[in-house]
């Protein structure tokens, strides 16, 4: 019973991780940039959900309708102002620039909102659904998993059916060839970064009701998102989705059978093991490392 309980909560949490991982993988695929500000963008999403709830009295899940466009615009502008300038730079400069942007975001949040953790308590925050006689599933986690599934589905339709989506796909396959085919790759980069930001903020908003909200929250999620991307194969959107679920399960299992203090260590050991044994990730192509 413990096992099943742990497995199911792992899958539910993993869904949200997957969303964060997909956002990072999309940016990596299209722009070939490791976005170290990804965790801080998630943190901004958490605060957006928090303030939408406390100031505007909008349900955190409903507030996604506001958060997604806002975050997309924010990411789009970030790309146009900062990121596109370093797209041809050595990768360490890209990492440092996004670290710098992340530091600005988290420390501005620190100045504006102080380091006191905030808690978003909805009427259903601690309610749970009981199934199969003893397994309880938290309502916020179930809701966020459902929303994650819908958003991932929409994203896939967008990437595979629309012209813009296909152009993004093509850019991530081969930037130069895409450019030669008349795709505006600069615009694709801005759209990819906007989408990545929107996905990060969505993931942040989705975990806001079940997590402490504080300015440095992004740090933990950044490393998790990287683990997910590497596990799935950097740049692979489907891989990131699967990677997210796996990491969710691993975390939940190690909390149950080991100790919740060590769950992050287990995640990082898996990360290193993947790098050692299969650096191209589960779904990545060989020879990409």
């Amino acid at each position: 019973m413990f096992f099943l309980q742990s497995l199911l909560s792992g899958i539910l949490t993993g869904g949200v991780y997957a969303l964060a991982g997909i956002g990072m993988s999309l940016v990596f695929g299209v722009m070939n940039i490791s976005n170290f500000a990804h965790g801080d963008l998630m943190m901004l999403g958490m605060y957006l959900a928090y303030f939408a709830f406390t100031l505007l009295h909008i349900d955190p899940y409903l507030s996604l309708l506001l958060i997604i466009p806002t975050a997309f615009l924010f990411g789009f502008i970030l790309e146009k102002v900062f990121i596109h300038k370093i797209i041809d730079h050595p990768h360490q400069n890209q990492i440092l620039l996004t670290i710098g942007l992340g530091l600005i975001m988290s420390n501005t949040a620190l100045l504006a909102f102080t380091s006191d953790p905030k808690i978003l308590t909805t009427s259903y925050s601690s309610s749970a659904v009981h199934i199969l006689g003893g397994i309880s599933l938290s309502v916020p986690l179930l809701l966020s998993f459902a929303i994650t599934t819908v958003i991932t589905g929409i994203l896939f339709l967008f990437l595979s059916k629309t012209t813009t989506g296909l152009a993004l796909w093509a850019t991530s396959q081969n930037r130069e060839a895409a450019q030669l085919m008349g795709i505006n790759v600069a615009k694709m980069s801005a759209i990819a970064f906007g989408l990545g930001t929107a996905l990060a903020a969505t993931a942040g908003a989705l975990i806001a009701p079940t997590y402490y909200i504080y300015p440095m929250a992004g740090h933990t999620f950044l490393l998790k998102a990287f683990t997910i991307c590497v596990l799935g194969g950097l740049g692979s959107v489907i891989g990131a989705g699967i990677g997210g679920i796996i990491i969710g399960i691993v975390e939940s299992m190690s909390s149950t059978y080991l100790s919740s203090d060590w769950k992050d260590v287990v995640v990082f050991i898996i990360f290193l093991a993947v790098l050692l044994l299969r650096p191209q990730g589960l779904l990545g192509k060989k020879g990409e490392q």
């Binding site: 990596f28 490791s34 900062f82 300038k85 370093i86 730079h89 990768h91 360490q92 400069n93 990492i95 440092l96 620039l97 670290i99 710098g100 942007l101 992340g102 530091l103 600005i104 420390n107 501005t108 620190l110 100045l111 740090h219 490393l223 990287f226 683990t227 590497v230 950097l234 100790s259 203090d261 060590w262 992050d264 260590v265 990082f268 050991i269 990360f271 290193l272 790098l275 050692l276 650096p279 490392q289």
Partner: protein
């Protein structure tokens, strides 16, 4: 003037500096921080600047030195110098494990893997009992050869000595076979490999030198402050500050990291101790009781990381080769 003469000259000047400013503990404290960051960043620069392998996890080696030293002194009353050597060994073991995993990878992966290793070390220190867990380790008394370790001066000269050694190694490296190999690896790994350079051997060599020096600084810091916890010595932020210092001064140059530390550490210190806020108030730019004045007084102390972030972004966008890079001859 030869670089080595400049090092000797500056070291001599730094050695005499405490005599000139007297025993002002505050200033000596700031100077120790400057020397420590200069040495940390220079040690990072051997791997990051010359071999082109950007480690984002150098806090692991600093923490390895700090923790090993503190545990050995406080639990087993072992001589601080012996504990320091033990720290070097622990740091080198971590470095070898890291190196064997990550040096087979390139580009994005190396940076990510170095963070993962550092996070494993940090979380382990936080969760094990023998490392003091979240409480950290407090050292009540320590002695070495009758030196007055309550004074800051032994640590000032200790940090200075490590900085000079690090600069000496860097200088020597630049002119040696290893140094040329490392720079070849930085410029083009495939070309370097095709010329018969053993990539992983030389990368690991640079990492070991860098990690050993970093661990010595960690040991010195721990005995100097006499208190360590994971936030102080193993945090990702420390790793990032080390890199930023080198970036802002000039990566891959002898003096860049030193220049970065001389500029950044006092700036951070000024923000932290609210000197900047006080100056703004005294100059009449901001009124003390106005909303902005109160806000600055309360918050400027936390703002130094924000300022680091802004400087990093500006630096990467407009001056990616750092301050010294601006004066370098164009090729």
């Amino acid at each position: 003037m030869k670089q080595i003469t400049i090092i000797a000259f500056i070291a001599g000047f730094a050695a005499l500096l405490p005599l000139a400013i007297g025993e002002n503990p505050y200033f000596i404290g700031v100077l120790i921080s400057v020397l420590m960051m200069a040495a940390l960043s220079s040690a990072w620069n051997i791997l990051g600047g010359y071999a082109g392998q950007y480690s984002f996890g150098h806090a692991a080696y600093f923490g390895a030195g700090a923790y090993t030293t503190m545990i050995l002194i406080s639990r087993f009353n072992i001589n601080p110098l012996v504990s320091m050597v033990a720290g070097i060994i622990v740091a080198c073991i971590i470095a070898l494990i890291t190196g064997s995993i990550v040096f087979r990878l390139r580009g994005h992966y190396f940076g990510l893997a170095s963070i993962a290793v550092a996070e494993i070390v940090r979380l382990s220190a936080l969760n094990f009992d023998f490392t003091g867990g979240a409480q950290g380790i407090l050292l009540s008394d320590v002695s070495l050869w009758g030196l007055d370790l309550n004074s800051k001066l032994p640590f000032y000269y200790g940090m200075l000595l490590v900085l000079v050694i690090t600069l000496g190694i860097t200088l020597n490296l630049r002119k040696s076979k290893t140094g040329y190999y490392l720079q070849a690896i930085r410029e083009d790994q495939d070309a370097a490999a095709s010329l018969g350079i053993n990539l992983s051997f030389y990368k690991n060599k640079a990492l070991l030198i860098s990690a050993a020096l970093t661990s010595v600084l960690g040991s010195l810091y721990a005995v100097y402050i006499r208190f360590i916890d994971t936030t102080a010595v193993l945090d990702l932020r420390l790793s990032i500050e080390i890199i930023l210092t080198a970036i802002i001064g000039g990566v891959g140059t002898l003096w860049g990291p030193v220049l970065g530390a001389v500029l950044l550490v006092p700036l951070a210190e000024m923000l932290r101790s609210n000197v900047l806020g006080d100056v703004l108030v005294k100059q009449g730019i901001v009124s003390e009781n106005s909303g902005l004045g109160v806000f600055l007084k309360e918050n400027l102390a936390h703002a130094h990381v924000l300022v680091y972030g802004i400087i990093t972004v500006l630096c990467i966008l407009y001056m990616p080769k750092g301050i010294l890079g601006l004066f370098r001859r164009k090729k």
